[in-house]
Amino acid sequence: MNSVQISHITKSYGNVTAVRDISLSINSGELFALIGPDGAGKTTLFRMLTTLLLPDKGDATVCGLDMRKDWRQIRTISGYMPGRFSLYQDLSVEENLEFFATVFKTTIQENYDLIHDIYVQLEPFSKRRAGKLSGGMKQKLALCCALIHRPRVLFLDEPTTGVDPVSRKEFWDILSRIKEQNITIIVSTPYMDEASRCDRIALMRNGSCLRTDTPEQICASFPHKLWSLKGKELYQLLLDAREYPQTYSCHAFGDCHHFIFKEENDKADDLAAYLRMKGHEDVLIERLEPSVEDCFMDFGEDDQ
């Protein structure tokens, strides 16, 4: 079993509670994502699961190993890729990989099949120093180093932050392939749009876990009808829509606004008339399927 069980874990730094009573159950072979904005407590949770930090309260097991007692074994079966590039910048690509293989008492050859897909892209630069690689390449090298000892659980802390959209997509494709090797992958990300690539997600905010479910279930459980507003003067439209007495919430989402009514009746025509009166002649109102981001914003609304 490669599962991760977290029960009632809490960690504070001084007065700040970074992780507040989180319980999660991550199944074997799952691609699980912790999604939340900066400061949600994702990294702290990761640092506890990788035995870098001890929780103030609560317990967790990784592959059935207790994080307090069996931390040494946990380290041998888990791979961790911190959010910050933390390989040896003065060593070459090859040397880094070899170093981490040696540290885990294995060799590159032994597990080469696991990293082959990723490493072929790095091969042309194998003599280059790790510090001189591009951002996307650094991430791939770090992933290789985290995989070199064939871990049973892989922890990736914001692997796609600061990586361009093409590389991000590529990275998620790689993760899907790693998952096929029956490796449990836990990944954190602030990008809500990446949620659909995961089996299950946990939405986090301010150290608490808001919801845990499959992305589809989370979207399906969205309790409101969602509308999109489009117009020329987007900002003024947002302000005016929020002034409308029947408005439950209205958020800016790129090129349109996501709008929810207080009561669940089709009153789109009324809203359109109101907005036209406000001078938005070309306003376009359409029904919309909720995304994970809508759900996250909605949970936030409940909090306040």
């Binding site: 035995t51 041998t76 888990s78 961790y80 911190p82 933390s86 390989l87 040896y88 885990f104």
Partner: protein
Amino acid sequence: MQLIILPFAANFEMKNVNLAVVDNDCSPVTTELTDKILSSGYFKLTTTQDSYEAALPFMEKNSADLILEYPARLEKDLGRERSACVSITANAVNGTKAGIGTSYLASIIRQYNIEQISPDVTIPVQIKNTHLFNPYLDYKAYMVPGILAFLLTLVGGFLSALNIVSEKEKGTIEQINVTPVPKSIFLLSKLIPFWVIGLIILTLGLFISWIVYGFIPDGNVLAIYVFAAIYLVALTGLGLAVSAISASQQQAMFTMFFCNMLFALMSGLFTPISSMPDWAQTITLFNPIRYFVEVMRMIYLKGSLFTDITGHLLIVCAFAVFFNTLAVIGYRKKS
């Protein structure tokens, strides 16, 4: 580099003491005495003036360090009473120069006295100095072993602290911490290279002092190595303790800088410990460099053997245990 430059620069020998002479007598005796003083090689005649008042501006302008004044009728007094006074005025802004210059000058005049009296009269008590272990009072012989000790301190303490903290800064220590490698092994693998580098530097330093200065330790070279090996363990322990409490290289650097400053000035490397006030002497007891500098000088100059440095060795062992315990405690608190 340090070993080649510092001993020449950190030199207490006075070669160029600027002397102003006020000759109120202008007799053969004063001329002879002045010639004698100048021929010693330590003094340089800046000016000859008629009065003390005229000579004083030269001292104020820093072109004279000493003023030697012969009274009028010096020769006559000498002839009649067989004694006379000269006055020496020293510019004490540079204390060492004034002190040493004055004593050089006094000893030359004393010698002149003796020459005047003898051969017909013998002086009952004659002082004759012999400098044991360093017969020519060669400052380089004194400084080289000390500076070598200081260099090892820099490598052992400074570099090891900076190296570990730099791993912290870059975040690489994080990546190592999630591997099954125990912390103790990680720290050891960080310290051993510096320990080895330290011993290599010591070897290089011994060679340089032999090739450049021609100094060969009178005592047991092996004793130096044994002592240095333990000393480096102590200092890397200190570096480790510093790295445990600092979060950035800057922090570590300033902490070590502070320690090293204190250690160096209180080590007896530049100023003798025995001339420090009592409280300062007590502080030097807690200074590891002090012991290493002493041992280096003992072995180089005195030819001390193992048995002579046992006391120092034990103290440095205690330092090693103390600093490393401190480091372990510091790191344990973190995790």
